[in-house]
Structure formats: structure tokens, C-alpha cells
């Protein structure tokens, strides 16, 4: 996030796109709901009437996979009505003319045709967004999990820059990060192209710095493979071994049939986890790891705040810390990686990570600090880009609408979009151990609109077969006011009826994120 969570409540207008916030970030959604209670504008843009729409001043419903079109439509109106922030554009940005040229053709009428959002709504939201003293954009996987995910995000950045809503309180472009430490895993260089703090592996000076710090030679300069491509290479036999620490891709990955083949094709699969999972079942070696409650360390949250995690209980006998296991293997492979405790590791992190350097454990004993924090006297950075962007000037990207990779047809007439429910987490390895959560959300469901259910002659509780070009599963139908005709929603949590047997593994060319939010499916009553 460019801004903090608390900041959201101070916005004059909050635009929430592709985020089922009340279910996926429940506590963060309270900041939005409280703002709405105080009379601030809350605009929810989502293919489903997600629960937050109940609290919203407006709900706009785009057809799945048409986000660039409505964002361009908003910008078209803003420029046409001369509501853009000319000072901000002149001082802080570049390439405005290219943007202007592209959005010129996105008239509200054309946008209505592509997205299904009424032209009048586009015009009104555009005016509200541009005129708000500070408007915050919050988005989530509904924006990113598309073959045009990167362009969707750039479009939102365009929109925010156009109105000068960046770099100030109550504004910003705020991705809501899904997992407790997904921000930290990225910050720590758990990515194929960067070391910690996004220092490129292609940069020789940076590699030298790490070689010195780690006392090794020849850290490779070539960026590695993102997970989605590792699966491909495993499938083709080029990737021989995979070491998985605490993930369950055999439920969370798209197109599971394909993934299953890929994993089985590996020569050697090691999985480190706290429970047996669909993924550990395929492993050659499984290591029992310590869980969250048994660890000392840090997480970085969605607002970049580095916070302490503290050990509450002793681990079960036999389980070891994730880092300890890796250090043991490193030692056995001839490289000495020995640490007294996780604090010692953290000190090494600070030494090689400029944005974390000033964040010591002592300083975050009580309250976490958002990076960048270059030294110990620095207070941290709650709001990014206040005076300039990372690259200097903010660049507008001229982006055209691109349809989703898969379209509906006579055989697969419905659009499937996937997501989570409040009571479960990812592949349920953790939440399924709390019986009460299973009581409140016992099984997979197929959310369908009243009209579609009536056409099929089916009702809530009827078992249906759901099929796509890649697979088929059965689950119970749930007729809901949250669904819009033609669009079906399923949670991906449940291994027994894994929605990811249906989803499309087509990737965004830049971010390599799969298009989990749109695929074509058919629904039939189960025999």
C-alpha cells in the first residue's frame, strides 16, 4: 500500500475494486465501513454484489475482465470535463499526452457496451473521484488475477495520478495483500529477479555486495523462474527438483490436473509443512515445521509495517523451525549457515536491506514501523511518493482494453470467478482445524443468481456438476443475491471440490499471475 490502513478512514472517497474486503481483510474493511458511516463516499466496483456493497454509496458492476475499460472510461470523463489535476500532472508525471490519446475513444457509451456499467454511472463516479479532496483506491486479486493484471494495476495508477491523489493522506493506490507475510516474502527477496528490498539480481554491484556478505562466489545474474513457469518447466522435465516451504500449490494453483502432472514429473520434491497436505502427499521428503505460534521473528503487513511475531508455545516434539531446517541442509551441502536465533538473522537482513536498516527489533517492540526506514533515527514511511516517485516522475501508461483469455461459448456459457470466504483461509490447512469455522462454512458451494438458477430449474442445495475445458467437479448450488446473471462464484479453499481444477492457468505476460478470476464453465444437475 502507498498509504496506511488508518489513512483509509480519512479519505473523502474510497474506490474499492476487485476486493471482497469484508471477507478477505475483515478488519481493514471496518476502516472503509466506518468512513461510509461518517458520510464519506464508498464506491465498490466488483462483478459480485460483495458484502461491502451493502455499505457503499455506489456499486458498479463490470463484466469480469473489463477493468481497463471502466478505468479508461473514468479518465475519459475526467479529462473531457477538465477535472484532472494539471499541476500534479505537470510537476510529477510524464507521458500524459499518450494517455489522453488512448482514453479519448473510451466514451461512457462505449464503456457501457464493454463493461455493462451504465454510462451515467461512469460519468458520476468520474466526477466524484476527481472532485474528492483525497480519494483512495483499494484493490485486490479481482484486479490482479487476470492475463492483463499488470495493465489493470497500471490503469489504476493512471487514474490516481490523473487526479493527484497520490502522495497525500487519504489518497493512494493500495493493494490489499492477502497473506500475513506476502509483503515480507517479497521484501526478503523471495522472488526470482530480486534480492531483499527489490535489489535486482542483474545488478553486478548488488551481487558483489551479497557475495561479500554471504562469503560466496558466483551468485547467478540471470533472473530465475516465477512459480507459474517452474510448474511449466517441471511439466516439460527441465526442472528436476522443487523445495517447497509451507505452501500447498496442489490446491491453490490454477489448472490442478496440469500441476499434478508437473509435480509427479519432478525427480525430487521436498515439502516442509506443519500438516500433511495435498502437496506433501506427492513429496519424496517431508519435513515437520514449527507453526506461527512457535516462532520468533517479523512479518511485514500490507501497509509495509514490520511487526514482531512472538513465540507463544513450545512446538510439538519433532518439529523444527523453517530456517533451521534449511541451515542444516546448507551445512550438509558444504556451506556454513549457522545462526543463534532469528534475531541474529534479522540483524543480517538489516545489514543488506536498505529499506529495513533502521527497523531494529528494539524499535518495534511495541509498535511496528513501515519501511522504507533507512536509519535508526528515521521514523519510517507511512505514505509513499510524497515528493517524488521511485523512478522520479510518475509515468502514465497508455493502455487499451484486452478481453480475458477465455470467452464463454455454447458449451461453456457461464463465467467462473473464484475467491475466498470469511471463515476459511487459502487451502484450509489451518482453518479446518477449528471446528467452529467448519460449522460456519462446511463445504464448497457454487454461487449463482436467482435467474440462472430458475433457468436451470435448480435451487440452493442441489448438487451440480461444474465443468470447464480443463476439469470437472461437483458441489452444491447456492442461490444468492450476491451473484449476477451469467457469472458464477466458487471459493477455492476446498480440496474435495477444488475450484482450481476448472481455472485457467493463462498468465499475465509481466507479473506471471494466472487468470483465476475469469474462465468459461458449464453447470449441469448431477445425475
Amino acid at each position: 500500500m502507498t498509504n496506511t490502513i488508518a489513512d483509509i478512514e480519512t479519505s473523502d472517497l474510497i474506490l474499492v475494486a476487485g476486493s471482497n474486503t469484508t471477507e478477505n481483510h475483515p478488519v481493514l474493511s471496518t476502516f472503509m465501513k466506518r468512513a461510509a458511516l461518517k458520510g464519506k463516499k464508498l464506491v465498490v466496483i466488483d462483478p459480485r454484489f460483495v458484502k461491502l456493497a451493502n455499505n457503499a454509496t455506489r456499486w458498479l458492476r463490470p463484466n469480469p475482465g473489463t477493468d481497463i475499460a471502466w478505468i479508461n472510461g473514468l479518465m475519459h470523463v475526467i479529462i473531457k470535463e477538465d477535472l484532472h489535476d494539471k499541476t500534479f500532472i505537470a510537476d510529477r508525471t510524464e507521458n500524459f499526452d499518450a494517455l489522453k490519446e488512448v482514453v479519448a475513444s473510451y466514451t461512457p457509451e462505449r464503456v457501457e457496451e464493454i463493461t455493462g456499467i451504465a454510462a451515467q454511472d461512469i460519468i458520476e463516479v468520474a466526477r466524484e473521484f476527481a472532485k474528492a479532496p483525497a480519494a483512495s483506491i483499494c484493490y485486490c486479486m479481482g484486479i490482479t488475477q487476470h492475463t492483463c493484471g499488470t495493465d489493470n494495476v497500471k490503469s489504476l495508477a493512471n487514474l490516481s495520478m490523473l487526479c493527484g491523489h497520490l502522495g497525500k493522506p487519504g489518497g493512494g493506490v493500495n493493494p490489499l495483500r492477502g497473506q500475513n507475510n506476502v509483503q515480507g516474502a517479497c521484501d526478503m527477496g523471495g522472488l526470482p529477479n530480486v534480492f531483499t528490498a527489490y535489489q535486482a539480481v542483474t545488478d553486478e554491484d548488488i551481487r558483489k555486495k551479497y557475495e561479500t556478505a554471504w562469503n560466496v562466489l558466483d551468485i547467478p545474474a540471470k533472473p530465475g523462474l516465477p512459480v507459474t513457469e517452474m510448474i511449466e518447466k517441471a511439466h516439460d522435465g527441465e526442472l528436476k527438483s522443487l523445495y517447497i516451504m509451507g505452501e500447498n500449490p496442489m490446491v491453490s494453483d490454477p489448472d490442478l490436473h496440469h500441476s499434478e502432472k508437473a509435480f509427479s514429473n519432478l525427480e525430487f520434491l521436498v515439502v516442509q509443512d506443519i500438516f500433511e497436505t495435498e502437496t506433501t502427499a506427492l513429496a519424496d521428503v517431508v519435513f515437520p515445521a514449527c507453526s506461527w505460534g512457535e516462532k520468533d521473528g517479523t512479518f511485514a503487513n500490507t501497509e509495509r509495517r514490520v511487526q514482531r511475531v512472538r513465540k507463544a508455545v513450545e512446538p510439538p516434539e519433532g518439529a523444527r523451525l523453517d530456517w533451521e531446517i534449511l541451515c542444516e541442509i546448507a551445512k550438509r551441502m558444504g556451506y556454513d549457515m549457522t545462526y543463534e536465533n532469528s534475531h541474529e538473522i534479522y540483524k543480517e537482513i538489516c545489514a543488506v536491506t536498505p529499506s529495513y536498516r533502521g527497523i531494529t527489533w528494539e524499535r518495534i517492540e511495541k509498535v511496528g514501523i513501515p519501511w522504507p526506514c533507512p536509519d535508526e533515527s528515521h521514523p519510517g514511511t507511512p505514505i509513499l511518493h510524497t515528493t517524488q516517485f521511485t523512478r522520479g516522475k510518475g509515468r502514465f501508461h497508455a493502455i487499451e482494453h484486452q478481453p480475458p483469455a477465455e470467452q464463454t461459448d455454447a458449451d461453456y456459457p457461464y463465467v467462473l470467478t473464484t475467491g475466498r470466504v470469511l471463515y476459511h483461509y487459502h487451502t484450509r490447512t489451518m482453518t479446518s482445524r477449528t471446528e467452529g469455522l467448519n460449522v460456519l462454512s462446511p463445504e464448497c458451494f457454487v454461487e449463482i443468481s436467482h435467474n440462472d438458477a430458475r433457468k436451470l430449474g435448480l435451487g440452493t442445495g442441489d448438487v451440480v456438476n461444474v465443468s470447464s475445458r480443463r476439469g470437472r467437479i461437483s458441489a452444491k448450488l447456492k442461490v444468492s443475491y450476491q451473484a449476477v446473471d451469467g457469472t458464477i462464484f466458487m471459493p477455492f479453499h476446498f480440496a474435495q471440490a477444488a475450484a482450481n481444477r476448472l481455472t485457467n492457468a493463462k498468465l499475465d505476460p509481466v507479473a506471471k499471475i494466472p487468470e483465476l478470476k475469469v474462465c468459461a464453465i458449464n453447470i449441469e444437475p448431477a445425475a
Binding site: 490502513i5 488508518a6 475483515p26 478488519v27 481493514l28 471496518t30 465501513k33 466506518r34 497473506q179 500475513n180 507475510n181 515480507g184 516474502a185 521484501d187 526478503m188 534480492f195 531483499t196 551479497y210 554471504w214 540471470k222 523462474l225 528436476k240 523445495y243 516451504m245 509451507g246 505452501e247 500449490p249 491453490s252 525427480e267 525430487f268 506433501t280 519424496d284 521428503v285 515437520p288 506461527w292 505460534g293 521473528g297 503487513n301 501497509e303 511475531v309 512472538r310 508455545v313 518439529a319 523453517d322 534449511l326 541442509i329 551441502m333 549457515m337 538473522i345 534479522y346 543480517e348 537482513i349 483461509y425 489451518m430 482453518t431 482445524r433 471446528e435 467452529g436 499471475i513 494466472p514
Partner: protein, 381 residues
């Protein structure tokens, strides 16, 4: 006199415009008891326990400190004899109003043992107040030595069926003092709008949805109402039942679910997590709030089916192995693959669920030991 200064119990304090007397007192560690105040919500003045006395120049009156703004030159007393007298009366009324069957409550003229025996004999034997020793009303009753029955007439204990049809929250409205904290928490903090006041006059009570149970309302079981309840009207189904006198330690940590990073207090008994509360109301990012997963979804930590021994696949079947055996095997196989197929034939998936320290070590291992940049995690999924 200074601008924006106020005298409390003889000491002068500065305040900011908009602060209430209670805000100023709390900021300066002056303890004014209260049962309905909840930071971040509108003051209701419902419990009257936070009353303070203003000196003559200010009208010599009693006001509730939670709803009265601090004004320049105000002279306030928080524990004057008059205040104490009134407070005792209000606390007594609350003890009388419901089923406060602790030793100091409704059965004040019986000894604790007699009360226990009586309670065991009637249908409430399982319902001896579950928050005994952890009740704000009881604590105030001790502090001000109130025995109940202040209204001079004996009231039958209120009998309301206990609501237990949901997995996380027990609602026992016979113990409710109508302070309204739960209503404020649900409507103004979490904004789930599941509960509210219902009925009128002496029939007034807190209702869920249209007057049925939480299960049929819009409740999402965040448990915020339970955390703020000062008495035993709302209690977590799991926590502090039979073991509530077992020594408990508390650890401040960060939630393990979504990316919001809520700060929480984990309560531990006998190496087992028994309860989780939201941390301090002044602490970012969550200001003391939690959701259903964060508050109740902790049972995975001590689950009986945790992995506790390494497994090695032998003849297509995973069998238990010693740590040394498994570690040696992995080191040996990875070395082999590295030599035979090159470093880029290997990949590592680190974890968005693990700590920064775990992730750092994973990428160091990948880059320094395996010598490849094939490292990623499920940020995209």
C-alpha cells in the same frame, strides 16, 4: 490560568479541545471506573459509574466523565465521598438487575459456600458465572464494597435462556447490564450491524438481528462484542471454562492470517493457546479489533495431527525417518541434481506464511547454496 487546563483531584492537566474529562484522566493515569465507555465510539453515559463531581464554580454537580467535554478551568473530583456513595448505588442496581451470582452479588447475605451449594442444586449448576474473577462489575463491587440489594426489594434472578447455537459465542442475557458496549462495538467499530437494543423500558435487552439468535442475524462472529463485554453476558465458547484458574501467560504477537497484520494478545495455559484478544485500542494497524479467523482460528497450532517426524518416500510410500536421515538424503539428492543437471534445474518455493527471517534464509539458501534464482512464492495466488 493556562488555556485548556483542568484540575483533577487537585492536580492541573492540559487537554486538547474535544477531549472528555475521562480522556484527560486516562491520559494521565487517573483511574475513573467505567463500564460502558469504549474508545472510538459515541459516549452513551449508560452505566453512570464514571460520574465525577465538579466544584461549586462549575455548578457543583455530578456529570458522567465519558460524555462531558473538558473545559478550561474545570475543577474535578473523581473519588469524593458523594461520588463514592452514588457509585455504590449504581453498582448495586446493576448487581440487582441480573443474574450476578458471584459471592458479592445477588446472594450477598449468604456465604460463598452456601451459594455454591444452592447453585449446584438448581438448573444453573453449569452456569456458575463463567467470568468469576475476570468481571469488571465484580471488580468494582469489591472495590466499592457493594453487596447488592440496594433497591430494598428482592428481585428474582432474571431467567433468560442461554444462547449456545453458534460455535464461538455464548450469550447469557441474564447477566447483561445493558452497558451497550457490545452494540457500540458491533455497529460503530466493526460495523457489522448484527446486534442492537430491543424492546422498551424494563423489557429492554440486546437483540441479535430481528430478535432471534446470532446465527440468524448478520453476525460474522468477529467476537468484538465478547472482548468488550464487562460482565459474563458474552463469553467465548472455548476459553476460560474449566481452566480459568490455571496460570495464564500472555504474548503480544501479529496475526497469522491475512495481510492486515492485526496485533493480538495470545493467552496461553499449559503450553496451549486458550484465547486470543485484540491488542491495545491505540495500537495500529487494528486498534484492538480482530476478525473471526484471528480470534478463534488458532486451534491449528496445537492440533493433534501436526507433522512431528520427517517422512521419506520408500518404494512409493512415505515412511517415518530420523532427522539426520532425511536431512542427509535431501542434501545428497540436491547436490546430485546440481552436478548432473545444473543449478537452474532446481527451484524453491518460499512462503508468504512464514516469517521474514524464514524467507530470507530460503532465498539465501537458493542463491548462495543452490546457486540459482529460481525462487518464488504464492504472492500471485
Amino acid at each position: 490560568m493556562d488555556q485548556n487546563s483542568i484540575t483533577i483531584n487537585g492536580h492541573v492537566y492540559q487537554f486538547r479541545p474535544g477531549q472528555t474529562i475521562l480522556d484527560v484522566a486516562q491520559e494521565n493515569n487517573i483511574d475513573i471506573p467505567n463500564l460502558c465507555h469504549l474508545k472510538g465510539t459515541r459516549a452513551t453515559g449508560a452505566c453512570r459509574v464514571c460520574i465525577v463531581e465538579l466544584e461549586e464554580s462549575w455548578g457543583k454537580k455530578l456529570v458522567s466523565s465519558c460524555s462531558s467535554p473538558a473545559k478550561n478551568g474545570m475543577i474535578v473530583h473523581t473519588e469524593s465521598p458523594k461520588i463514592v456513595e452514588y457509585r455504590r448505588f449504581y453498582i448495586g442496581l446493576m448487581l440487582d438487575s441480573g443474574n450476578h451470582n458471584c459471592d458479592i452479588g445477588a446472594s450477598a447475605d449468604e456465604s460463598w459456600t452456601d451459594f455454591q451449594i444452592k447453585a449446584m442444586e438448581n438448573e444453573q449448576k453449569e452456569e456458575l458465572c463463567p467470568v468469576w474473577g475476570d468481571c469488571e462489575l465484580q471488580a468494582l463491587a469489591y472495590r466499592y464494597q457493594v453487596k447488592g440489594r440496594v433497591s430494598g426489594r428482592h428481585r428474582e434472578p432474571v431467567k433468560v435462556p442461554i444462547e449456545k447455537d453458534n460455535p464461538f459465542i455464548i450469550r447469557d442475557m441474564s447477566r447483561c447490564i445493558l452497558c451497550g458496549r457490545c452494540v457500540a462495538a458491533c455497529n460503530e467499530l466493526q460495523v457489522n450491524q448484527a446486534i442492537d437494543y430491543g424492546f422498551r423500558g424494563t423489557n429492554e435487552k440486546i437483540v441479535a438481528g430481528t430478535g432471534n439468535t446470532l446465527m440468524t442475524s448478520s453476525c460474522v462472529f468477529c467476537g468484538e462484542c465478547v472482548q468488550v463485554c464487562p460482565v459474563g453476558a458474552l463469553i467465548p465458547t472455548k476459553a476460560f471454562r474449566d481452566d480459568r484458574f490455571v496460570p495464564t501467560s500472555t504474548v503480544r504477537t501479529t496475526c497469522s492470517f491475512c495481510g492486515v497484520g492485526c496485533q493480538m494478545d495470545v493467552h496461553v495455559q499449559n503450553n496451549k493457546i486458550v484465547k486470543i484478544d485484540g491488542a491495545d485500542r491505540n495500537l495500529p494497524p487494528n486498534n484492538g479489533m480482530l476478525c473471526v479467523k484471528g480470534r478463534y482460528g488458532f486451534e491449528f497450532v496445537g492440533a493433534p495431527d501436526r507433522l512431528t517426524t520427517p517422512l521419506i518416500k520408500k518404494d512409493g510410500k512415505q515412511v517415518p525417518a530420523s532427522w539426520d536421515e532425511a536431512l542427509d538424503l535431501v542434501a545428497e539428492k540436491l547436490t546430485q541434481i546440481k552436478e548432473k543437471h545444473g543449478s537452474d534445474a532446481m527451484g524453491v518455493l518460499t512462503s508468504a506464511r512464514a516469517t521474514n527471517e524464514d524467507n530470507y534464509i530460503a532465498q539465501k539458501f537458493t542463491r548462495a547454496v543452490l546457486k540459482t534464482n529460481n525462487i518464488d512464492h504464492c504472492a500471485r495466488l
